[in-house]
Amino acid sequence: MTIFDPYKQRSADPTSLNLGRATVSPTLLGTDIGRIDQSRPQASGALYALGFVLGWAAIGIPLILAALVYLTPLAVDEGWQTPEPVGVDVLVMAGTIVPMVTAVLASILAAVGRRRIKGARNGAGAVWLAVSFGVLALATVWIGNTTGIPFP
C-alpha cells in the first residue's frame, strides 16, 4: 500500500501521510508493479527501447541496401541474373547518396527522439521517432522501387 495515494484508500491511521500527489499503482497479477506519479512525468523505457532499435536500423538498413545495390554488378559477373540492368547513375544515387543521407538523417532524428524520451518528454520523443521511421521507410521503398531489390 502506498501512503501517498489520497484516492486509493483513506487510512484511519493518524500517522499516515497524504502529501496530495495523485499517484496510481498499477498491479499485475496482484503484485504492485511500480508507482506512476502523475504530477511528475517519467521516461518510458519501452519507447526508449524502440528508439534504440530505430537508431540502429537507421544505420543498418541503408548499409544493407547499399551493399545489395553494389552486389548487383558482382552478381552479373558471377553469371547470376539481375532483376533489371542497373546504370551507373542508379548505382551512384540509390547505392551511395540516398543511403548515406538516409542513415545520417534518420539516425540523428532517432537520437533526438531518444534524448527527448530520456528527458521524460515521451510525446515529443515519439513524434521524433515517427519522423525518423518515416524517412527510413521512404528511402527503403524508393531504393527498392528504383533498383528492383526485393529487400523488405
Binding site: I3, F4, P14, T15, S16, L17, L19, R21, T31, D32, I33, G34, R35, D37, R40, Q42, A43, S44, G45, A46, L47, Y48, A49, L50, G51, F52, V53, W56, A57, G60, L68, L71, T72, A75, E78, W80, Q81, T82, P83, K118, G148, I149, P150, F151
Partner: protein, 238 residues
C-alpha cells in the same frame, strides 16, 4: 423548573453529610494529604502515557518518511535548503545565481522553504540513486540479458554461418536472382537474428532507464528481450 412551585418536580435534597465526602464535614489533614497524593500520582501517570504515545507516533512518522521512495516526495528537512544542496554561505555567493530573482537572504531568514512545499528532487545522481530501494533483481536480470545476447551472437555466427553460405551458393547455382540475398535463408539466419540482437540490447537500455526510475516494469522489458532471442533461436532451428 416551573414558576409555580406546585407543578415543579420535587427538589432533590442534598444527601446527608458523610464524614468522607468532599462537600461534607472537614477532613482530617492526613486523609486530605493522602487524596492529594493519589491525585498527583494519577496525573503523572496520564502524562507519562501521553508522552509514550507521542514518542510512538513520532517514531512511526520518522519511519514512514524514511521509507518514502522518491526524494521529491519528502517534506523539506530542517537545516537543509531545498533550493540549493549544501553551501556554507548561502546568502552571499548564491544571490547572483538565484534563478527566481528573489531575495535569497530574506527567504533564508524566513525559513527553509515555504510551508506546504515539498523538497526538490536531488540533483545529485548518487543521492537520487540511493533514494529508492535497490533493485538488485532487475540489475541482475539486465546483466544476464546482455551476456546472453552476446553469447547468442557468438553462437549464431559459429553455428549458422556455414548453412547460410551453402544455402546462398546453392540458390545462385540454381539460377537464382538477387532474391538469394533477400530470401528465406538470409531472413532466417541474418536479418532476424540481427533484429533480435539489436532489440535485446534496446530492451536492456530501456530496462536500465526503468531501473533508474525504480519501476518494476523493467522486468517486462527484460522479458521481451529474452523473448526476442528465443524467437530468433526457434526460427533458426526450424
Amino acid at each position: 423548573m416551573s414558576w409555580f412551585p406546585e407543578q415543579s418536580a420535587p427538589v432533590p435534597r442534598p444527601p446527608a453529610p458523610t464524614p468522607g465526602a468532599p462537600g461534607g464535614a472537614p477532613l482530617d489533614p492526613l486523609e486530605r494529604a493522602r487524596r492529594q497524593l493519589a491525585d498527583q500520582l494519577a496525573k503523572h501517570g496520564n502524562l507519562l502515557q501521553q508522552s509514550e504515545q507521542g514518542q510512538a507516533l513520532q517514531a512511526e512518522l520518522t519511519r514512514r518518511v524514511e521509507t518514502m521512495a522518491q526524494p521529491w516526495q519528502r517534506p523539506p528537512q530542517q537545516g537543509q535548503n531545498p533550493t540549493q544542496g549544501t553551501s556554507a554561505q548561502p546568502g552571499a555567493d548564491s544571490a547572483g545565481r538565484n534563478p527566481y530573482g528573489q531575495n535569497q537572504a530574506a527567504s533564508n531568514q524566513a525559513g527553509q522553504g515555504r510551508p506546504g512545499q515539498n523538497a526538490r528532487a536531488a540533483q545529485n545522481p548518487e543521492r537520487a540513486a540511493a533514494a529508492g530501494p535497490p533493485m538488485t533483481g532487475l540489475v541482475v536480470a539486465n546483466v544476464l540479458l546482455v551476456l546472453s545476447t552476446l553469447a547468442f551472437i557468438v553462437w549464431h555466427l559459429v553455428t549458422w554461418s556455414e548453412p547460410l553460405v551453402d544455402a546462398v551458393a546453392a540458390c545462385g547455382d540454381a539460377g537464382g536472382t538477387l532474391d538469394c540475398f533477400t530470401g528465406d535463408a538470409m531472413r532466417t539466419w541474418v536479418f532476424l537474428p540481427l533484429v533480435a540482437a539489436i532489440g535485446a540490447f534496446g530492451a536492456s537500455a530501456g530496462a536500465r532507464i526503468e531501473t533508474r526510475q525504480h519501476r518494476q516494469r523493467g522486468y517486462l522489458l527484460v522479458l521481451a528481450g529474452f523473448a526476442l532471442l528465443a524467437l530468433s533461436l526457434s526460427t533458426s532451428f526450424s
